[in-house]
Symmetry: C2
Subunit: 256 residues, 2 copies
DNA sequence: CGCAATGTTGATAACAATCAAGCTCGGTGG
DNA sequence: CCACCGAGCTTGATTGTTATCAACATTGCG
């Protein structure tokens, strides 16, 4: 049984940008225009003018400490969240109280997209480490999208991208062996870290074996055994949460 | 190994609405305004005037015979397709040439959403029976969405809904037993037929046991055995592809 | 230092896959 | 009209992968 490490919602720290409200809309450290995720985040591709308008929307930042909830399943949907730093898991509660992780979200990725259709968050979002997010009020985002075609397009693309990602995972869960699942998982993380500008072959897992297993539809023991086997076979080097992909090509072979 | 029953693309029959081009834009039998799927399809909620504009967009209908492809993985993305009648499966090819069904699509559901982000269809769409779709050029749809806020909202909702559906399936594939998967599958079909105005407890499967198994991550033998067991236990009555849910409540119990 | 959380490894068991045989139904040709 | 054929389905026997149960190691933290 998997449990969030902290059940009580932490008091939420909202971090407002220094320049907020200033006529010149000075570039604060937290503005999109000076954010290191510019190339990968939602507003990517906007003109400077439009970026400023978007900045105002997404001005509210929020800190979330490790183990606490960003939002809970069933909460009324109001914000999309862009992960600025840190990492999250989204967790659905299945029937008998067991939790099922539906996704991990790294920096530059959006949270809450599944809530648009129902008006309520379909899953709970829990921080895997101390994190920071930009809160984007969705109603205002929709309005802005009507005036900024590129933003609308970007939104469609982003939401659609989520579908692709999910369907990829379904393929994984529905037809892969335990070995293939873990290999695919490691390669996916590698790609995503690379996109963020980090090394592709060396990263630190943000989640426990149990969480990986839960996500992949395996038990933590199986995950642990596979890490050991992959290491024995020279595919990777693991030491706790540090992972080094030594033979990404062979991992890809395993996946197919 | 699963194969599309017809490999060659059929010559495509485009069906143009009779009233197309007529100044008065007379209500043709295929116009959205006279379509029985009005309540569940994409343009639901539009004013009459906006509906007309949408109608022009989605004027092109297309017949797809059983077993033939609506589009293929890798094709350049141009159209979203709304299923008018019939049913489809979307199929991804995994590595060693095996096929994996990522979704079934009934009337009133959209096809091609996953292609928006990549600009190419991520999966192939194959008709499970003789079907008809509305072809909606996405670029024009985006443009219209800028002018019709409700349509934009509807699109966001629809795409987001797809994410929810997928994540539900991931939950299913990742953490359910074979028994739970099949029960969940039957209940899902039941709900979707009901949404279309059909009986919830009695329907005809559009797909083979093999396709069900493929979709659920099970073998066809396991699916067959489960159908037999469910019948023996009085949960359902099956005769070939005809299914009657006798104890939906107990099926729900099985799922959790 | 000691405790709790996390991770590893081994033994056993259960579930679903695989292999195999035969059945049912609908279509086709003799 | 009937016999045959093949696709789809059912059922049984066996195997293999992964879950489960269990014990122990490691790490980080109070």
């Amino acid at each position: 049984m998997l449990q969030a490490t902290a059940i009580a919602s932490q008091p939420v720290a909202f971090v407002l940008p220094a320049g907020k409200g200033a006529a010149a809309h000075a570039r604060s450290a937290v503005a999109c225009s000076s954010c290191c995720l510019q190339g990968v985040c939602l507003p990517c591709g906007l003109t400077e003018r439009d970026l400023d308008r978007f900045d105002e929307l997404a001005a509210a930042k929020r800190r979330v400490t490790r183990g606490s909830f960003l939002y809970r399943e069933g909460d009324t949907f109001e914000y999309l969240y862009a992960v600025r730093s840190g990492a999250f898991k989204t967790v659905g509660v299945s029937h008998h109280g067991e939790e099922k992780i539906t996704a991990f979200h790294l920096a530059g990725e959006l949270l809450g997209l599944e809530a648009i259709s129902a008006g309520r968050y379909g899953y709970s979002a829990v921080a895997l480490e101390d994190s920071q997010v930009c809160a984007i009020p969705f109603a205002a985002l929709e309005t802005l999208s009507l005036a900024v075609p590129i933003l609308q397009h970007q939104l469609f693309r982003t939401i659609s991208g989520d579908i692709s990602r999910d369907q990829g995972l379904m393929l994984l869960l529905g037809s892969m062996s335990a070995e293939q699942r873990l290999a695919a998982f490691l390669l996916s993380l590698s790609r995503r870290y690379q996109r963020l500008g980090f090394a592709a072959d060396r990263f630190v897992l943000r989640m426990t074996r149990e969480e990986i297993g839960n996500y992949l539809g395996l038990t933590l023991e199986t995950v642990s055994r596979l890490f050991s086997r992959f290491q024995k076979d020279g595919l990777i080097a693991v030491r706790q949460r540090e992972v080094e992909l030594r033979e990404a090509a062979r991992l890809r072979e395993i996946v197919g």
